[in-house]
Symmetry: C2
Subunit: 480 residues, 2 copies
């Protein structure tokens, strides 16, 4: 699909020169080799960009967006290009301009008293956390990538500590955005206040908006005190139905020190243990159970004299739960938190190393998790015995990475996708994108599962702000 | 202003009969005596309603809204009428219909496993919490009134435990709304999922939307495990500049068990102690300090054997902070939490009993709190020596009830309001409505302080959903 040589497949010389005049010629990538990294997503198929434009300031973003809108050039905002929904990479048509925000790395301002940080959209999570670390602070969104803050806001990133800290929406205190109109209007939405109900919540549209309402150029986030103690264990629930009672027991007994409750299926754990060389099997006799939960407790303070350690607290809670009549727990393994997390973080790599993965980022009311899994297993056994279910997820917030490993035949994959999403969304009112946001890869699901009325209103609201970006087609009212 | 006798000042007989046909004649209040409770707000001046209409179901709300829109009758949604922004009571014109949701008290469904509740918009916070209590759960929005859940969602209520639990936005997992269009369109926005990024965040517009986008009829909220231990203390900071370092020390040392950090000025405390008969003076020798902070720690679990009690933890933290060089703390008083909270909760009553109050619900970046207070005190001493500053507030989230007691002369009050809001909003980018939402009483502030561009986009977005309600005029694009 990629155009050979030095010329853009679609963008004419005049447009290239006009863009270069706005941001400098070094910041307009036309060559296929230069474009490649911006065209290849972390998941799903890549495409071909007409060009990659890399403005370095909000003013330059505004100029580029305005130029694109006035000239009818579709564009796609891109942060660190780590998204899992195809929202930041162009399609195969070669007609979309990638608007990369990776040079928007200023400001990176930390206000310790305010416990906030204000950063350019291109600042990476790792860079922000490195700057926060000396102050004992961090942005507690934990995920297996290093996204940009703009991308995190645009996709409303969740992650493994959602149950304790919530998603990006909970942390975004202010945004600067550039609207996709002919003027490239710059809008400042709040100034970093924790509470503000003096105006309507326009800012909230841009969080998770995936570019539909405009381009995020600056973000103010609330940050937190870093934990100074942590303890983790692997819990073995009695059976699938015991996972939720187990969670409720830990929620009540550990309160807000409960910072992770990650479910892992046997198939997912086995693949990680078998295929990730650095991992050792943590289970007694090497027997991997049907299901395990990684539970983590954290505290922001250093150990105090006379205070039970978190390891002791965790053992005490697990012990109490184990002793209950009809206990939801059959065993608990204690050990270094890093070792437990290594298993959890090794799941995705283990799956990929074991075969081609069909990934799902589903979200349920958590009471539905066990029943969905039961019904899905029956359906998969009957209709898709050639796929192995290797699910894992964030039980406490209802999120499941309901991933399968199996054949790559596109038609068969499409049938599998249809069957899983149909059961989840039609049968359980689940979300087909719990924490990965919206993108090209989910267009068909959006068209099929989002109620027409919601599509129509979304498109009409987006139209208020301009032409939107090309990441997703919201509905007939916007672009048909 | 109120019309005498049995007839509505504006609504003609045909309209009265049409509304009665939709909801039953008992649910259309025309008599002045029947309307009175719905016309009188908790703060600011009341007005006169053309009628009060009390639908009992979403279908009836839809029918009433559709009828009003088709016939050009302005209406105002009202929950429990406890708001502090004049958003739920009619103006003096007599032309607005109050759409009371107080009969929408079904459903009241609790899902213990899911830790969620789904309720009709008219369900009161006290009723929800009474139903949750046997399950050890509660909705942790703590405030000095008993609002309806619909009203809480529409105004994005905050409260005294915001620092631990956040506002309503953080808790609302799903909404059912009726749009102000000719059809009274019913829109369901999510089904109670904790994570859902498969569609755009239209729901977020309605949270804090104060009726501008439509009428909330049903709410799903996340609820929490109730604390089973709590401890409180009154902290005496060294001076105004020490409040923030004190907060940061407690945030780091108490982590998420820190559930309140409420600042109280000497003037506010003195008025409460002097005017609320049930209160006793908690300070040594009865000497009220210049400023005090009510700090509270809570835990969701029952005391464990061998575990330090929360009282001990609180004393330990305060002791450590007291011993620091250049400590931000000069003293700490310990005692029963109820006694500490009685003082905090008595502040509003104490102020009212001591004289006429001019209330402000300001919100700052918390780093600006001390500097604003200093500048405001100088300004008040110079220009408004006849008003006594009796401020108190939620330090951790930047909220200040910057209340003053003094003359009722309308012109002088208007000047005071102008001076305080001007300093706060123009000087510090503060919000003039941190947690009370938008309403008629803040129309002038909205018009003056909200940037024209934000007003225009807000009005345009609201117009997408229909005519909106009459609570606030958003901008020239909506209603002029």
């Amino acid at each position: 699909m990629s155009a050979p040589g030095n010329s853009s497949p679609v963008l004419d010389k005049a447009c290239q020169e006009a863009l270069a005049a706005l941001v400098g010629s070094d910041a307009v990538l036309i060559d296929a080799a230069d474009r490649a990294a911006y065209e290849t997503p972390a998941r799903y198929a890549g495409g071909t960009a007409a060009a990659v434009v890399r403005p370095a300031t909000t003013a330059e973003v505004s100029a580029v967006v305005g130029y694109c809108v006035r000239n009818g050039l579709p564009f796609l905002p891109q942060g660190a290009n780590t998204g899992l929904a195809g929202g930041s990479t162009p399609d195969a048509g070669g007609g979309q301009i990638v608007l990369s925000l990776d040079r928007l790395t200023a400001p990176l301002e930390i206000d310790v008293d305010d416990r906030t940080a204000t950063v350019g959209a291109g600042v990476r999570l790792s860079a922000l956390n490195a700057a926060l670390e000396p102050h004992g602070l961090f942005l507690p969104i934990d995920l297996g990538a290093d996204p940009s803050l703009g991308g995190m806001a645009a996709t409303n990133t969740g992650g493994a500590r959602f149950l304790r800290y919530g998603d990006m929406r909970r942390h975004v205190l202010g945004l600067e955005v550039v609207l996709a109109d002919a003027a490239g209007t710059v809008l400042t939405l709040s100034h970093g206040l924790r509470k503000d109900n003096a105006a309507l919540a326009l800012r909230q549209l841009f969080v998770g908006g995936c570019g539909a309402f405009g381009v995020i150029t600056k973000v103010t986030v609330e940050v937190h005190h870093r934990p100074r103690q942590s303890a983790a264990a692997l819990l073995i629930p009695r059976d699938a139905d015991a996972v939720l009672p187990l969670l409720l027991a830990f929620e009540a007994q550990a309160g807000a020190s409960l910072s992770a409750f990650e479910g892992m299926s046997k198939a997912a754990m086995t693949r990680a243990i078998d295929h990730v060389p650095s991992l050792s099997n943590p289970f007694a006799g090497g027997v991997v159970p049907d299901y395990a939960v990684l539970v983590e407790l954290t505290r922001t303070w250093a150990p105090r004299e006379g205070e039970a350690s978190l390891d002791e607290v965790l053992q005490q809670i697990a012990g109490e739960v184990l002793e209950r009549d009809d206990s939801p727990l059959t065993d608990a393994l204690f050990g270094p938190a890093e070792k437990m997390w290594a298993l959890r973080h090794g799941l995705s790599e283990g799956l990929r190393a074991s075969g081609p993965v069909v990934g799902f980022d589903l979200s349920f009311r958590r009471r539905d998790l066990a029943r969905f899994r039961r019904e899905a297993v029956l359906m998969l056994e009957a209709d898709f015995p050639d796929y192995a279910l290797c699910d894992f997820g964030h039980v406490a917030d209802g999120g499941v990475h309901f991933n399968l490993v199996g054949p790559t035949d596109p038609e068969r994959r499409a049938m599998l996708r249809e069957a899983v999403l149909g059961l989840a969304v039609d049968g359980f009112s689940a979300s087909f994108s719990g924490e990965h946001g919206l993108g090209r890869a989910f267009q068909d699901a959006y068209d099929r599962f989002i109620p027409r009325l919601v599509q129509d209103y979304s498109a009409a609201v987006a139209a208020v702000f301009g032409a939107g970006s090309a990441a997703v087609r919201l509905g007939p009212a916007l672009k048909s």
